[in-house]
Symmetry: C2
Subunit: 219 residues, 2 copies
Amino acid sequence: LSHQDLSQLTAAGEEIERASFEFIDRMVQVSHLSQEEWEVARRVIHTTGDFEFKDLLRFATHATSAGVAAIEAGAHIITDVTMIKAGLSPGRLNHFNLKVHTPLSDPAVLAAARELGTTRSRIAMHHAAQQGLLDGSIIAIGNAPTALLSVCDLIKSGAVRPALVIGVPVGFIAAAESKERLCQMTEVPFISVSGYKGGSTIAVAILHALMKIAGRRTP
Amino acid sequence: LSHQDLSQLTAAGEEIERASFEFIDRMVQVSHLSQEEWEVARRVIHTTGDFEFKDLLRFATHATSAGVAAIEAGAHIITDVTMIKAGLSPGRLNHFNLKVHTPLSDPAVLAAARELGTTRSRIAMHHAAQQGLLDGSIIAIGNAPTALLSVCDLIKSGAVRPALVIGVPVGFIAAAESKERLCQMTEVPFISVSGYKGGSTIAVAILHALMKIAGRRTP
């Protein structure tokens, strides 16, 4: 990434990030992750202050490569909540010509959810599928298990084929089950987290790590 | 809060939140927190999937009351990053006539940070102080230890007097120290977290919990 692309970080900010990564490297020994997987895990630890993520993160084989390729191809990024969109660096998104969509914010989605007595999150992903946004996309889910379950259904049925699903919804009601379902899928590369933990900051960290790797590859 | 104010949550979404809180209540026994402090802690656990926060959260005496009173008074909310702003419910903010400011996003702040070779976060809070935004405000910091340290300096010097400081920056470089400094202050009510953990989702959870309590008090 050029200096302009990183314009949000001043030199002092970059130095803090570098020192943080060095600290994590000193604190943690990891043998079960590839170099790229570790870069993702390290950024999640950096974002949460929680070392447990080194053991909680789940990667499908070649998931990081699939994510990096999608970023290089300028894929659509579909998120369940606007917090993920707000957390992504505009400079990095522009560098790769990435557009972020949050179908949940569409008024049609709220109206449909109320009418059907379900959550906006469940409707939102079907809405995005109908608009043709999901094929080849990176789907990043930090909050809504129903959104992740909908995505799994859409993929299983053959209706859509995303490039990567980052499925890290947080919580105690259906979140762990939805992530477990994702991790059993063979149709799509995924990055996920075991158990209750997750959230939008974790989805952002995973996306930023993949963009960082992509930035090294494409000069 | 009226149904309109909670328009972002459909009935199904509200039911999931209620079930999640019940689950947490069953899982955790807490004796060292007041009822209102527990409501804050429970929402942080709900937001992170991390039960450790029950022991990590730090509350100044009457901090929750101070936060609720500031919300009822329509205080300015000052955040270090836009992710906090994006995570706050527009309906709840409107209900209490709360305005959210993120001085970091001001182009003048980036220019000043580069010129002085420091982080935007440090400049940002001085900028907000000069604009008169900090007195009586709720300051919520989820990422930048330098922003929290600046706020502590401004308060110590008598330059500003916020109603509440929510200081939960995450990370390994200076974050724990900045939170420790906040927790030693007697000049201002605070809510904070011990150690490395923190982040914007935690700041949002604390603010939402305080708004929920305020909503119960003012019919």
